[in-house]
């Protein structure tokens, strides 16, 4: 049985995440629904720390990311489908897959994650609906930060107006009468009344056109023309651009402006044909106990200095025990003796790395504790603690002169000297 862990459905689509949606579409067309299960999840729930993740329960192999999953499935299935496409088609498929990841993903992230209005009224509520409490407090912001990083090179962070709104709230504590306000802000120019999306309109349109022009040139509707994996991925990105009803629909408008009718038809056709109502084998989400742990980890990642390190450490640790497809292949090709030796070696190394990992983890935990402790002292009673510690000196400190050299008094003095010295000191 194959377990497919994905982000849950949103906007009337099978998943909120493009790669998850593509994976579901790929499964829906290649596998009968009895062969696999869809499990609604989030990255912190799977050991690969990334969705989509495929768990082959028969071999206990974990595979993550769309390209790896489709690669794994096509290698397991009969080779007829993969070899039927020509070399140039395969090259094109690789190139367009890279193009979608490199350009369509940031564009989508601008629309759904970076734009404050869209995030607040569409994307964040959608995440809240698919995550068990209290995870909506930690995971969606982390997701948004990751997506914002992906779009950083486009220089459109102005769409994120949350920071700006906070400034305005700060400035608002002094109430300026309406009559004076004109004098304070003489002519609110056209720019001031524009939403950030309108202000960046030309740039956004340009970006959307750059991506959609390239995609519109490809014939998506003809099944034999492109590989299935590429079609599913293109569908996923385009559907998430087209379908969600967001308050700042610049991306949707760009798609429906008429120039890209082919793309719109492709998305709508695919939605109709690929997804039959109720046919997806969703599993009932289990009431899992680890939600609290996941939430705690989410919180730990927000600690200023330690957080990022913690995140890495946790992810690496969880990956250690994973069996990947490469491992399985390597094992198959090994002879029995090799396997035994390999197992032995692996155990040793894994024990060693686990040990070093534990030490590293302990170090991190200690650092976090010290951090928290410092904060506590600073905020509460650090100074009093310092003052309360026992003083170095005393209230009265007295010095007395050393006794004069008794040697001057002759032999008797010399006899006394030892006694007196011991008395004084």
């Amino acid at each position: 049985m194959l377990e497919l862990h994905v982000w849950g459905p949103a906007f009337g689509l099978a998943s909120i995440d493009a790669e998850c949606l593509a994976t579901i579409a790929y499964f829906a067309q290649t596998k009968p629904s009895a062969d696999y299960q869809l499990i609604q999840s989030s990255p912190s729930a799977v050991p690969t720390h990334h969705l989509p993740a495929l768990h082959d329960t028969a071999t206990d192999i974990w595979i993550t990311s769309y390209a790896s999953i489709t690669g794994y499935l096509s290698s397991r299935s009969s080779p007829s489908t993969s070899s039927s496409t020509s070399r140039s088609h395969r090259a094109d498929a690789t190139a367009y897959t890279a193009f979608l990841t490199a350009h369509a993903a940031p564009l989508l992230a601008l629309s759904l994650y970076v734009s404050s209005a869209n995030w607040a009224s569409a994307t964040r509520p959608a995440y809240s609906a698919i995550l068990p409490l209290p995870l909506p407090w930690t995971e969606p912001p982390a997701m948004r930060a990751a997506m914002a990083a992906r779009t950083a090179h486009l220089g459109l962070s102005s769409l994120d107006t949350d920071a700006e709104a906070a400034d305005k709230a700060d400035a608002g504590w002094v109430q300026v009468p309406a009559g004076l306000r004109r004098a304070v802000h003489p002519r609110p120019g056209v720019a001031a009344s524009l939403t950030p999306e309108q202000a960046a309109c030309i740039k956004l349109e340009g970006l959307a056109a750059d991506v959609l022009d390239v995609l519109a040139e490809v014939e998506w509707d003809v099944p034999g023309q492109q590989t299935l994996a590429l079609r599913c991925l293109a569908f996923a990105y385009l559907a998430l651009m087209l379908v969600p009803l967001v308050p700042r629909p610049w991306l949707r408008e760009a798609m429906t402006s008429g120039r890209y009718g082919g793309l719109v038809d492709f998305v709508q056709g695919a939605r109709r044909e690929w997804f039959v109502e109720g046919a997806l084998p969703w599993m009932e989400p289990k009431a899992s106990r680890d939600v609290v742990i996941r939430f705690a980890h989410g919180l730990a990642q927000d600690i200023p200095i330690v957080g990022a390190e913690w995140r890495r450490w946790w992810a690496q640790r969880r990956r250690l025990g994973l069996r990947t497809a490469a491992d399985a292949e390597a094992e198959e090709s090994m002879t029995a003796e090799q396997r035994a030796a390999e197992n032995d070696k692996r155990q040793k190394t894994s024990v060693r790395s686990r040990n070093s990992d534990l030490i590293q983890g302990a170090g991190l935990a200690l650092l976090a504790a010290v951090n928290a402790g410092m904060l506590f002292y600073k905020s509460a009673n650090g100074e009093f603690f310092y003052r309360g510690s026992s003083p170095f000196g005393e209230l009265v400190q007295t010095w007395r002169p050393p006794p004069p050299a008794l040697a001057g008094f002759g032999a008797v003095g010399a006899m006394f000297s030892g006694m007196v010295m011991s008395e004084v000191d």
Partner: protein, 352 residues
Amino acid sequence: MSTTNASTSTSTSTNTATAPRSSKPASASASSPYSWRQAMPVPRLLQQLFDLVPLATYSANTLPARSPSTTPDQLPTLYVFASDEDARFGAPSFNPSCLKWQTYLKLAGVRFHITPSTNHASPSGALPFLLPARSSPTDSPAPIPSNKLQHYAFAQGPAPPPELTSLRLEAYQALLDLPVRNAWLQSLYLEPAHAALLDELYVAPASSSGWIRASLRAQLRRAAEAEILRTSSSATAAVVDVDAVYAAALEAFEALAGLLAESETGWFFGAAQPTLFDASVFAYTHLMLRYLGPGEENGSAQAAEAPFVPARLGVVVGCAGAGELERHRERMLKRVWGEPLVDADGVRRSIE
């Protein structure tokens, strides 16, 4: 320099002295306490007084020894990552982005010097950039960042390569920007096997101090890892999926080799001349074959039989499309660096 030929003051020289330095960074003029003065008109009498001074103006001070002198042949300078010696001979840079533009400018027939530099020197924060030749010793021309170099080559180069307008090129360009670049970053910056190479290329030239090097190395590694995570599909993952990075690169090179095989001219997209895209591909394939090739222990003859190590990207490039990309690299090398390298003193050396 002779300062004896003192010239008495002229009104033109004083005007230059009082003129505000408009070319300064904005922050400097904003924080300057003198800016109010520029708004005030100077009374006529005062202006006459100002015009009198300075009573004597000598010739300018000569620049310090480390200042790059104005080149006698008045050529622009391309700032790239390179060793001192490579820069002297104009040899290929070891940074893919720098090599791409160095190759392209050479393809366009632009004549230029290269000088070793760091990202700190660049106005955009990244190399390469081109500094046009100075017309006078005090003239500071505006640098041309890499995204304007194509335009520059069209305006200045005697033989600019043809510009391709295929939308399909965009998709293949993404292969270089994403899987190929990530594999380069992963292999050079993050593989322990290439730590010595990373030090030699990027860390050691910055400083001789051990702790600065350690700090820079850590910064580079962190930046490379963040860049791979940021651009790959696994934006939320905390650690790089190394196998996936190399697998994607392998596929990407196969795809590029397939694309090249379609062409009858030997250059991508059937162009009659090598284009910017050829330069982009060459920048990676050349560097991977040169620096990340099969190790010394197994010579290139046995490369095919040697155990396949994905971090050895040179092997991946060599195998792609049955040597298609390697042959492309040889053609590019021959075309762009076909003549032996000669430095200003006439010393010759080979390219490797």
